[in-house]
Amino acid sequence: MGLLYGLIAVGLALIFGLMDVTNFAHGEFLMIAMYLSFFLFAFFAIDPLLSAPLVAAALFVFGAVIYLLLVRFAMRAKANAGMVQIFTTFGLAIVMRGLAQYFFTPDYRSIPQSWLGGKTISIAGIFLPEPQLVGALVSIVAFAGLYLFIHRTDFGRALEATREDPGAVALVGIDKNRVFAFGWGLGAALVGLAGAIMAVFFYIYPDVGASFALIAYVTVALGGFGSVFGAFAGGIIVGLVEAVTALVLPPSLKSVGIYAVYLLVVFIRPRGLFGSM
């Protein structure tokens, strides 16, 4: 579970680190991905595991379009830039939730039978639910891919450079908007991947994003804003803390543990565990 949190969070961390914008519609991106996965299964009988790359690709386009249509303008605000970004993405989140309710109805849906659903696997006597296990594997692969991408490719470096000094980058002939749009696309694609996997073992409904979004922010902040590795580590910590809290406290209080750990961490290290900025 922690790795999936990490996967959700890393998309957010990427967007934040890249351009200092918090996407408050991140949970809704996740919701859209889950619905996509659901409909691909319901209408075309494509198993969520197979459709995951498709969903990620669709989310990539979606994220890039959102950046070009909305966020680009929010970033240009001359006054109260922070507030404008918060409320623009917040408004977007509300619209997306509304649209989901309108088109998909507020009903809870789930994917009844998939290759992975409900199966468990036994490793050395410990029973593990298969979907979570696959989710963890996919997350690790995605992280490794992202890490290599940022550090080993030209585009990854362009991303880093744009973040550090947009003005200078413009001089070298890199279009800032294209890089940022790509960053948003990538962030959305990652959360898309997470959504596709989570569609297998979570109910899907218009507000589903909200319950994960806060955990994603906490995960990002825990690791330190803008740090991809931090988001990964933050995800694992959050997952562990959740598991431990679930043992000690009643299930409805499991998030309290996460929140408490977050508060504890930022009070000791106001910039998160791996925050450098």
């Binding site: 917040f90 509304g98 309290v256």
Partner: protein, 327 residues
Amino acid sequence: MDKNFAARRRRDLIIAAALAVIAALTPLFVKDVVVQNILILTLMYAGLSQSWNILSGYCGQISLGHALYFGLGAYTTELLFTKFGVLPWFGMLAGGVVSALIAMGLGYPFFRLRGHYFVIATIVIAEIGLLLFHNWEWAGAAMGITIPIRGDSWLKFQFARSKLPYFYFALLLACVAWFVTWWLEDSKWGFWWRAVKDNPDAAESLGVDVFNSKMGAAAVSAFLVAVGGSFYAQFVSYIDPESVMGFQFSLLMALPAVLGGIGTLWGPVLGAAILIPLTEITRFKFGGSGSGVDLIIYGTLIVLISLALPRGLMSLFSRPKKTGATR
């Protein structure tokens, strides 16, 4: 010296008084219960948003966790009333004090955080409060508390037949919050807050106690919001964790100020006057069926206004006075 300034403040006060009188007279003409309901909520949110504005607008500490204080106000009042028979008026005061104390207690660790870390910490703490109340059996847990109605009474601040008393209290709340802001705006605290928001280092060098001015703002802000929470509890006569401490309240307190103009005296009033009726009308017209149209309209509006008017609607009224001699 500074005639303009004194004149502007007097003008603000006169406008506010005139608006209050007009508002006080509306129930004479508006008999429709649904409309009265909207008016009450508008006034309440004007007051809440004004209070939120003190900490977040003037002092610059953006909180998206004020639902905590709203809920604490509501719960303190109702727990004291249902468990110990303490009259809501005292409960209201107690709720305000409890919230102010908690706000200051939280201030110790919180005010060291900056930017996004602070905002997320405020969301998180409100969420923790919500979860705790959800699991607190004595306080009704998820079931909440139903306030026993025993007929109209000013003493118990409950009215089944007419909404008018609630209306006047909401008006009073809005007026008090406005007046407190007006008064603080031209005081040492008001100047300190704005200085802290603009540049804490420079403020410190000018003898401003940065930490304590944040604490002061947090306490005033939390107190007023808690009073609003007590009022709301009496008004709806049933509370559960979601309905008084949910995240939507944090949002609904911030939005009017942001739309109207954050850190301005009139922003919250203007924002609430536009936003709340709109929220309620879209919900009334399109909501209920769960179609989500209300959310679509509402969200679109937020996006458009924040993109088009980053300084809020008040920026349309202020004529920027640039002398333009140099440059």
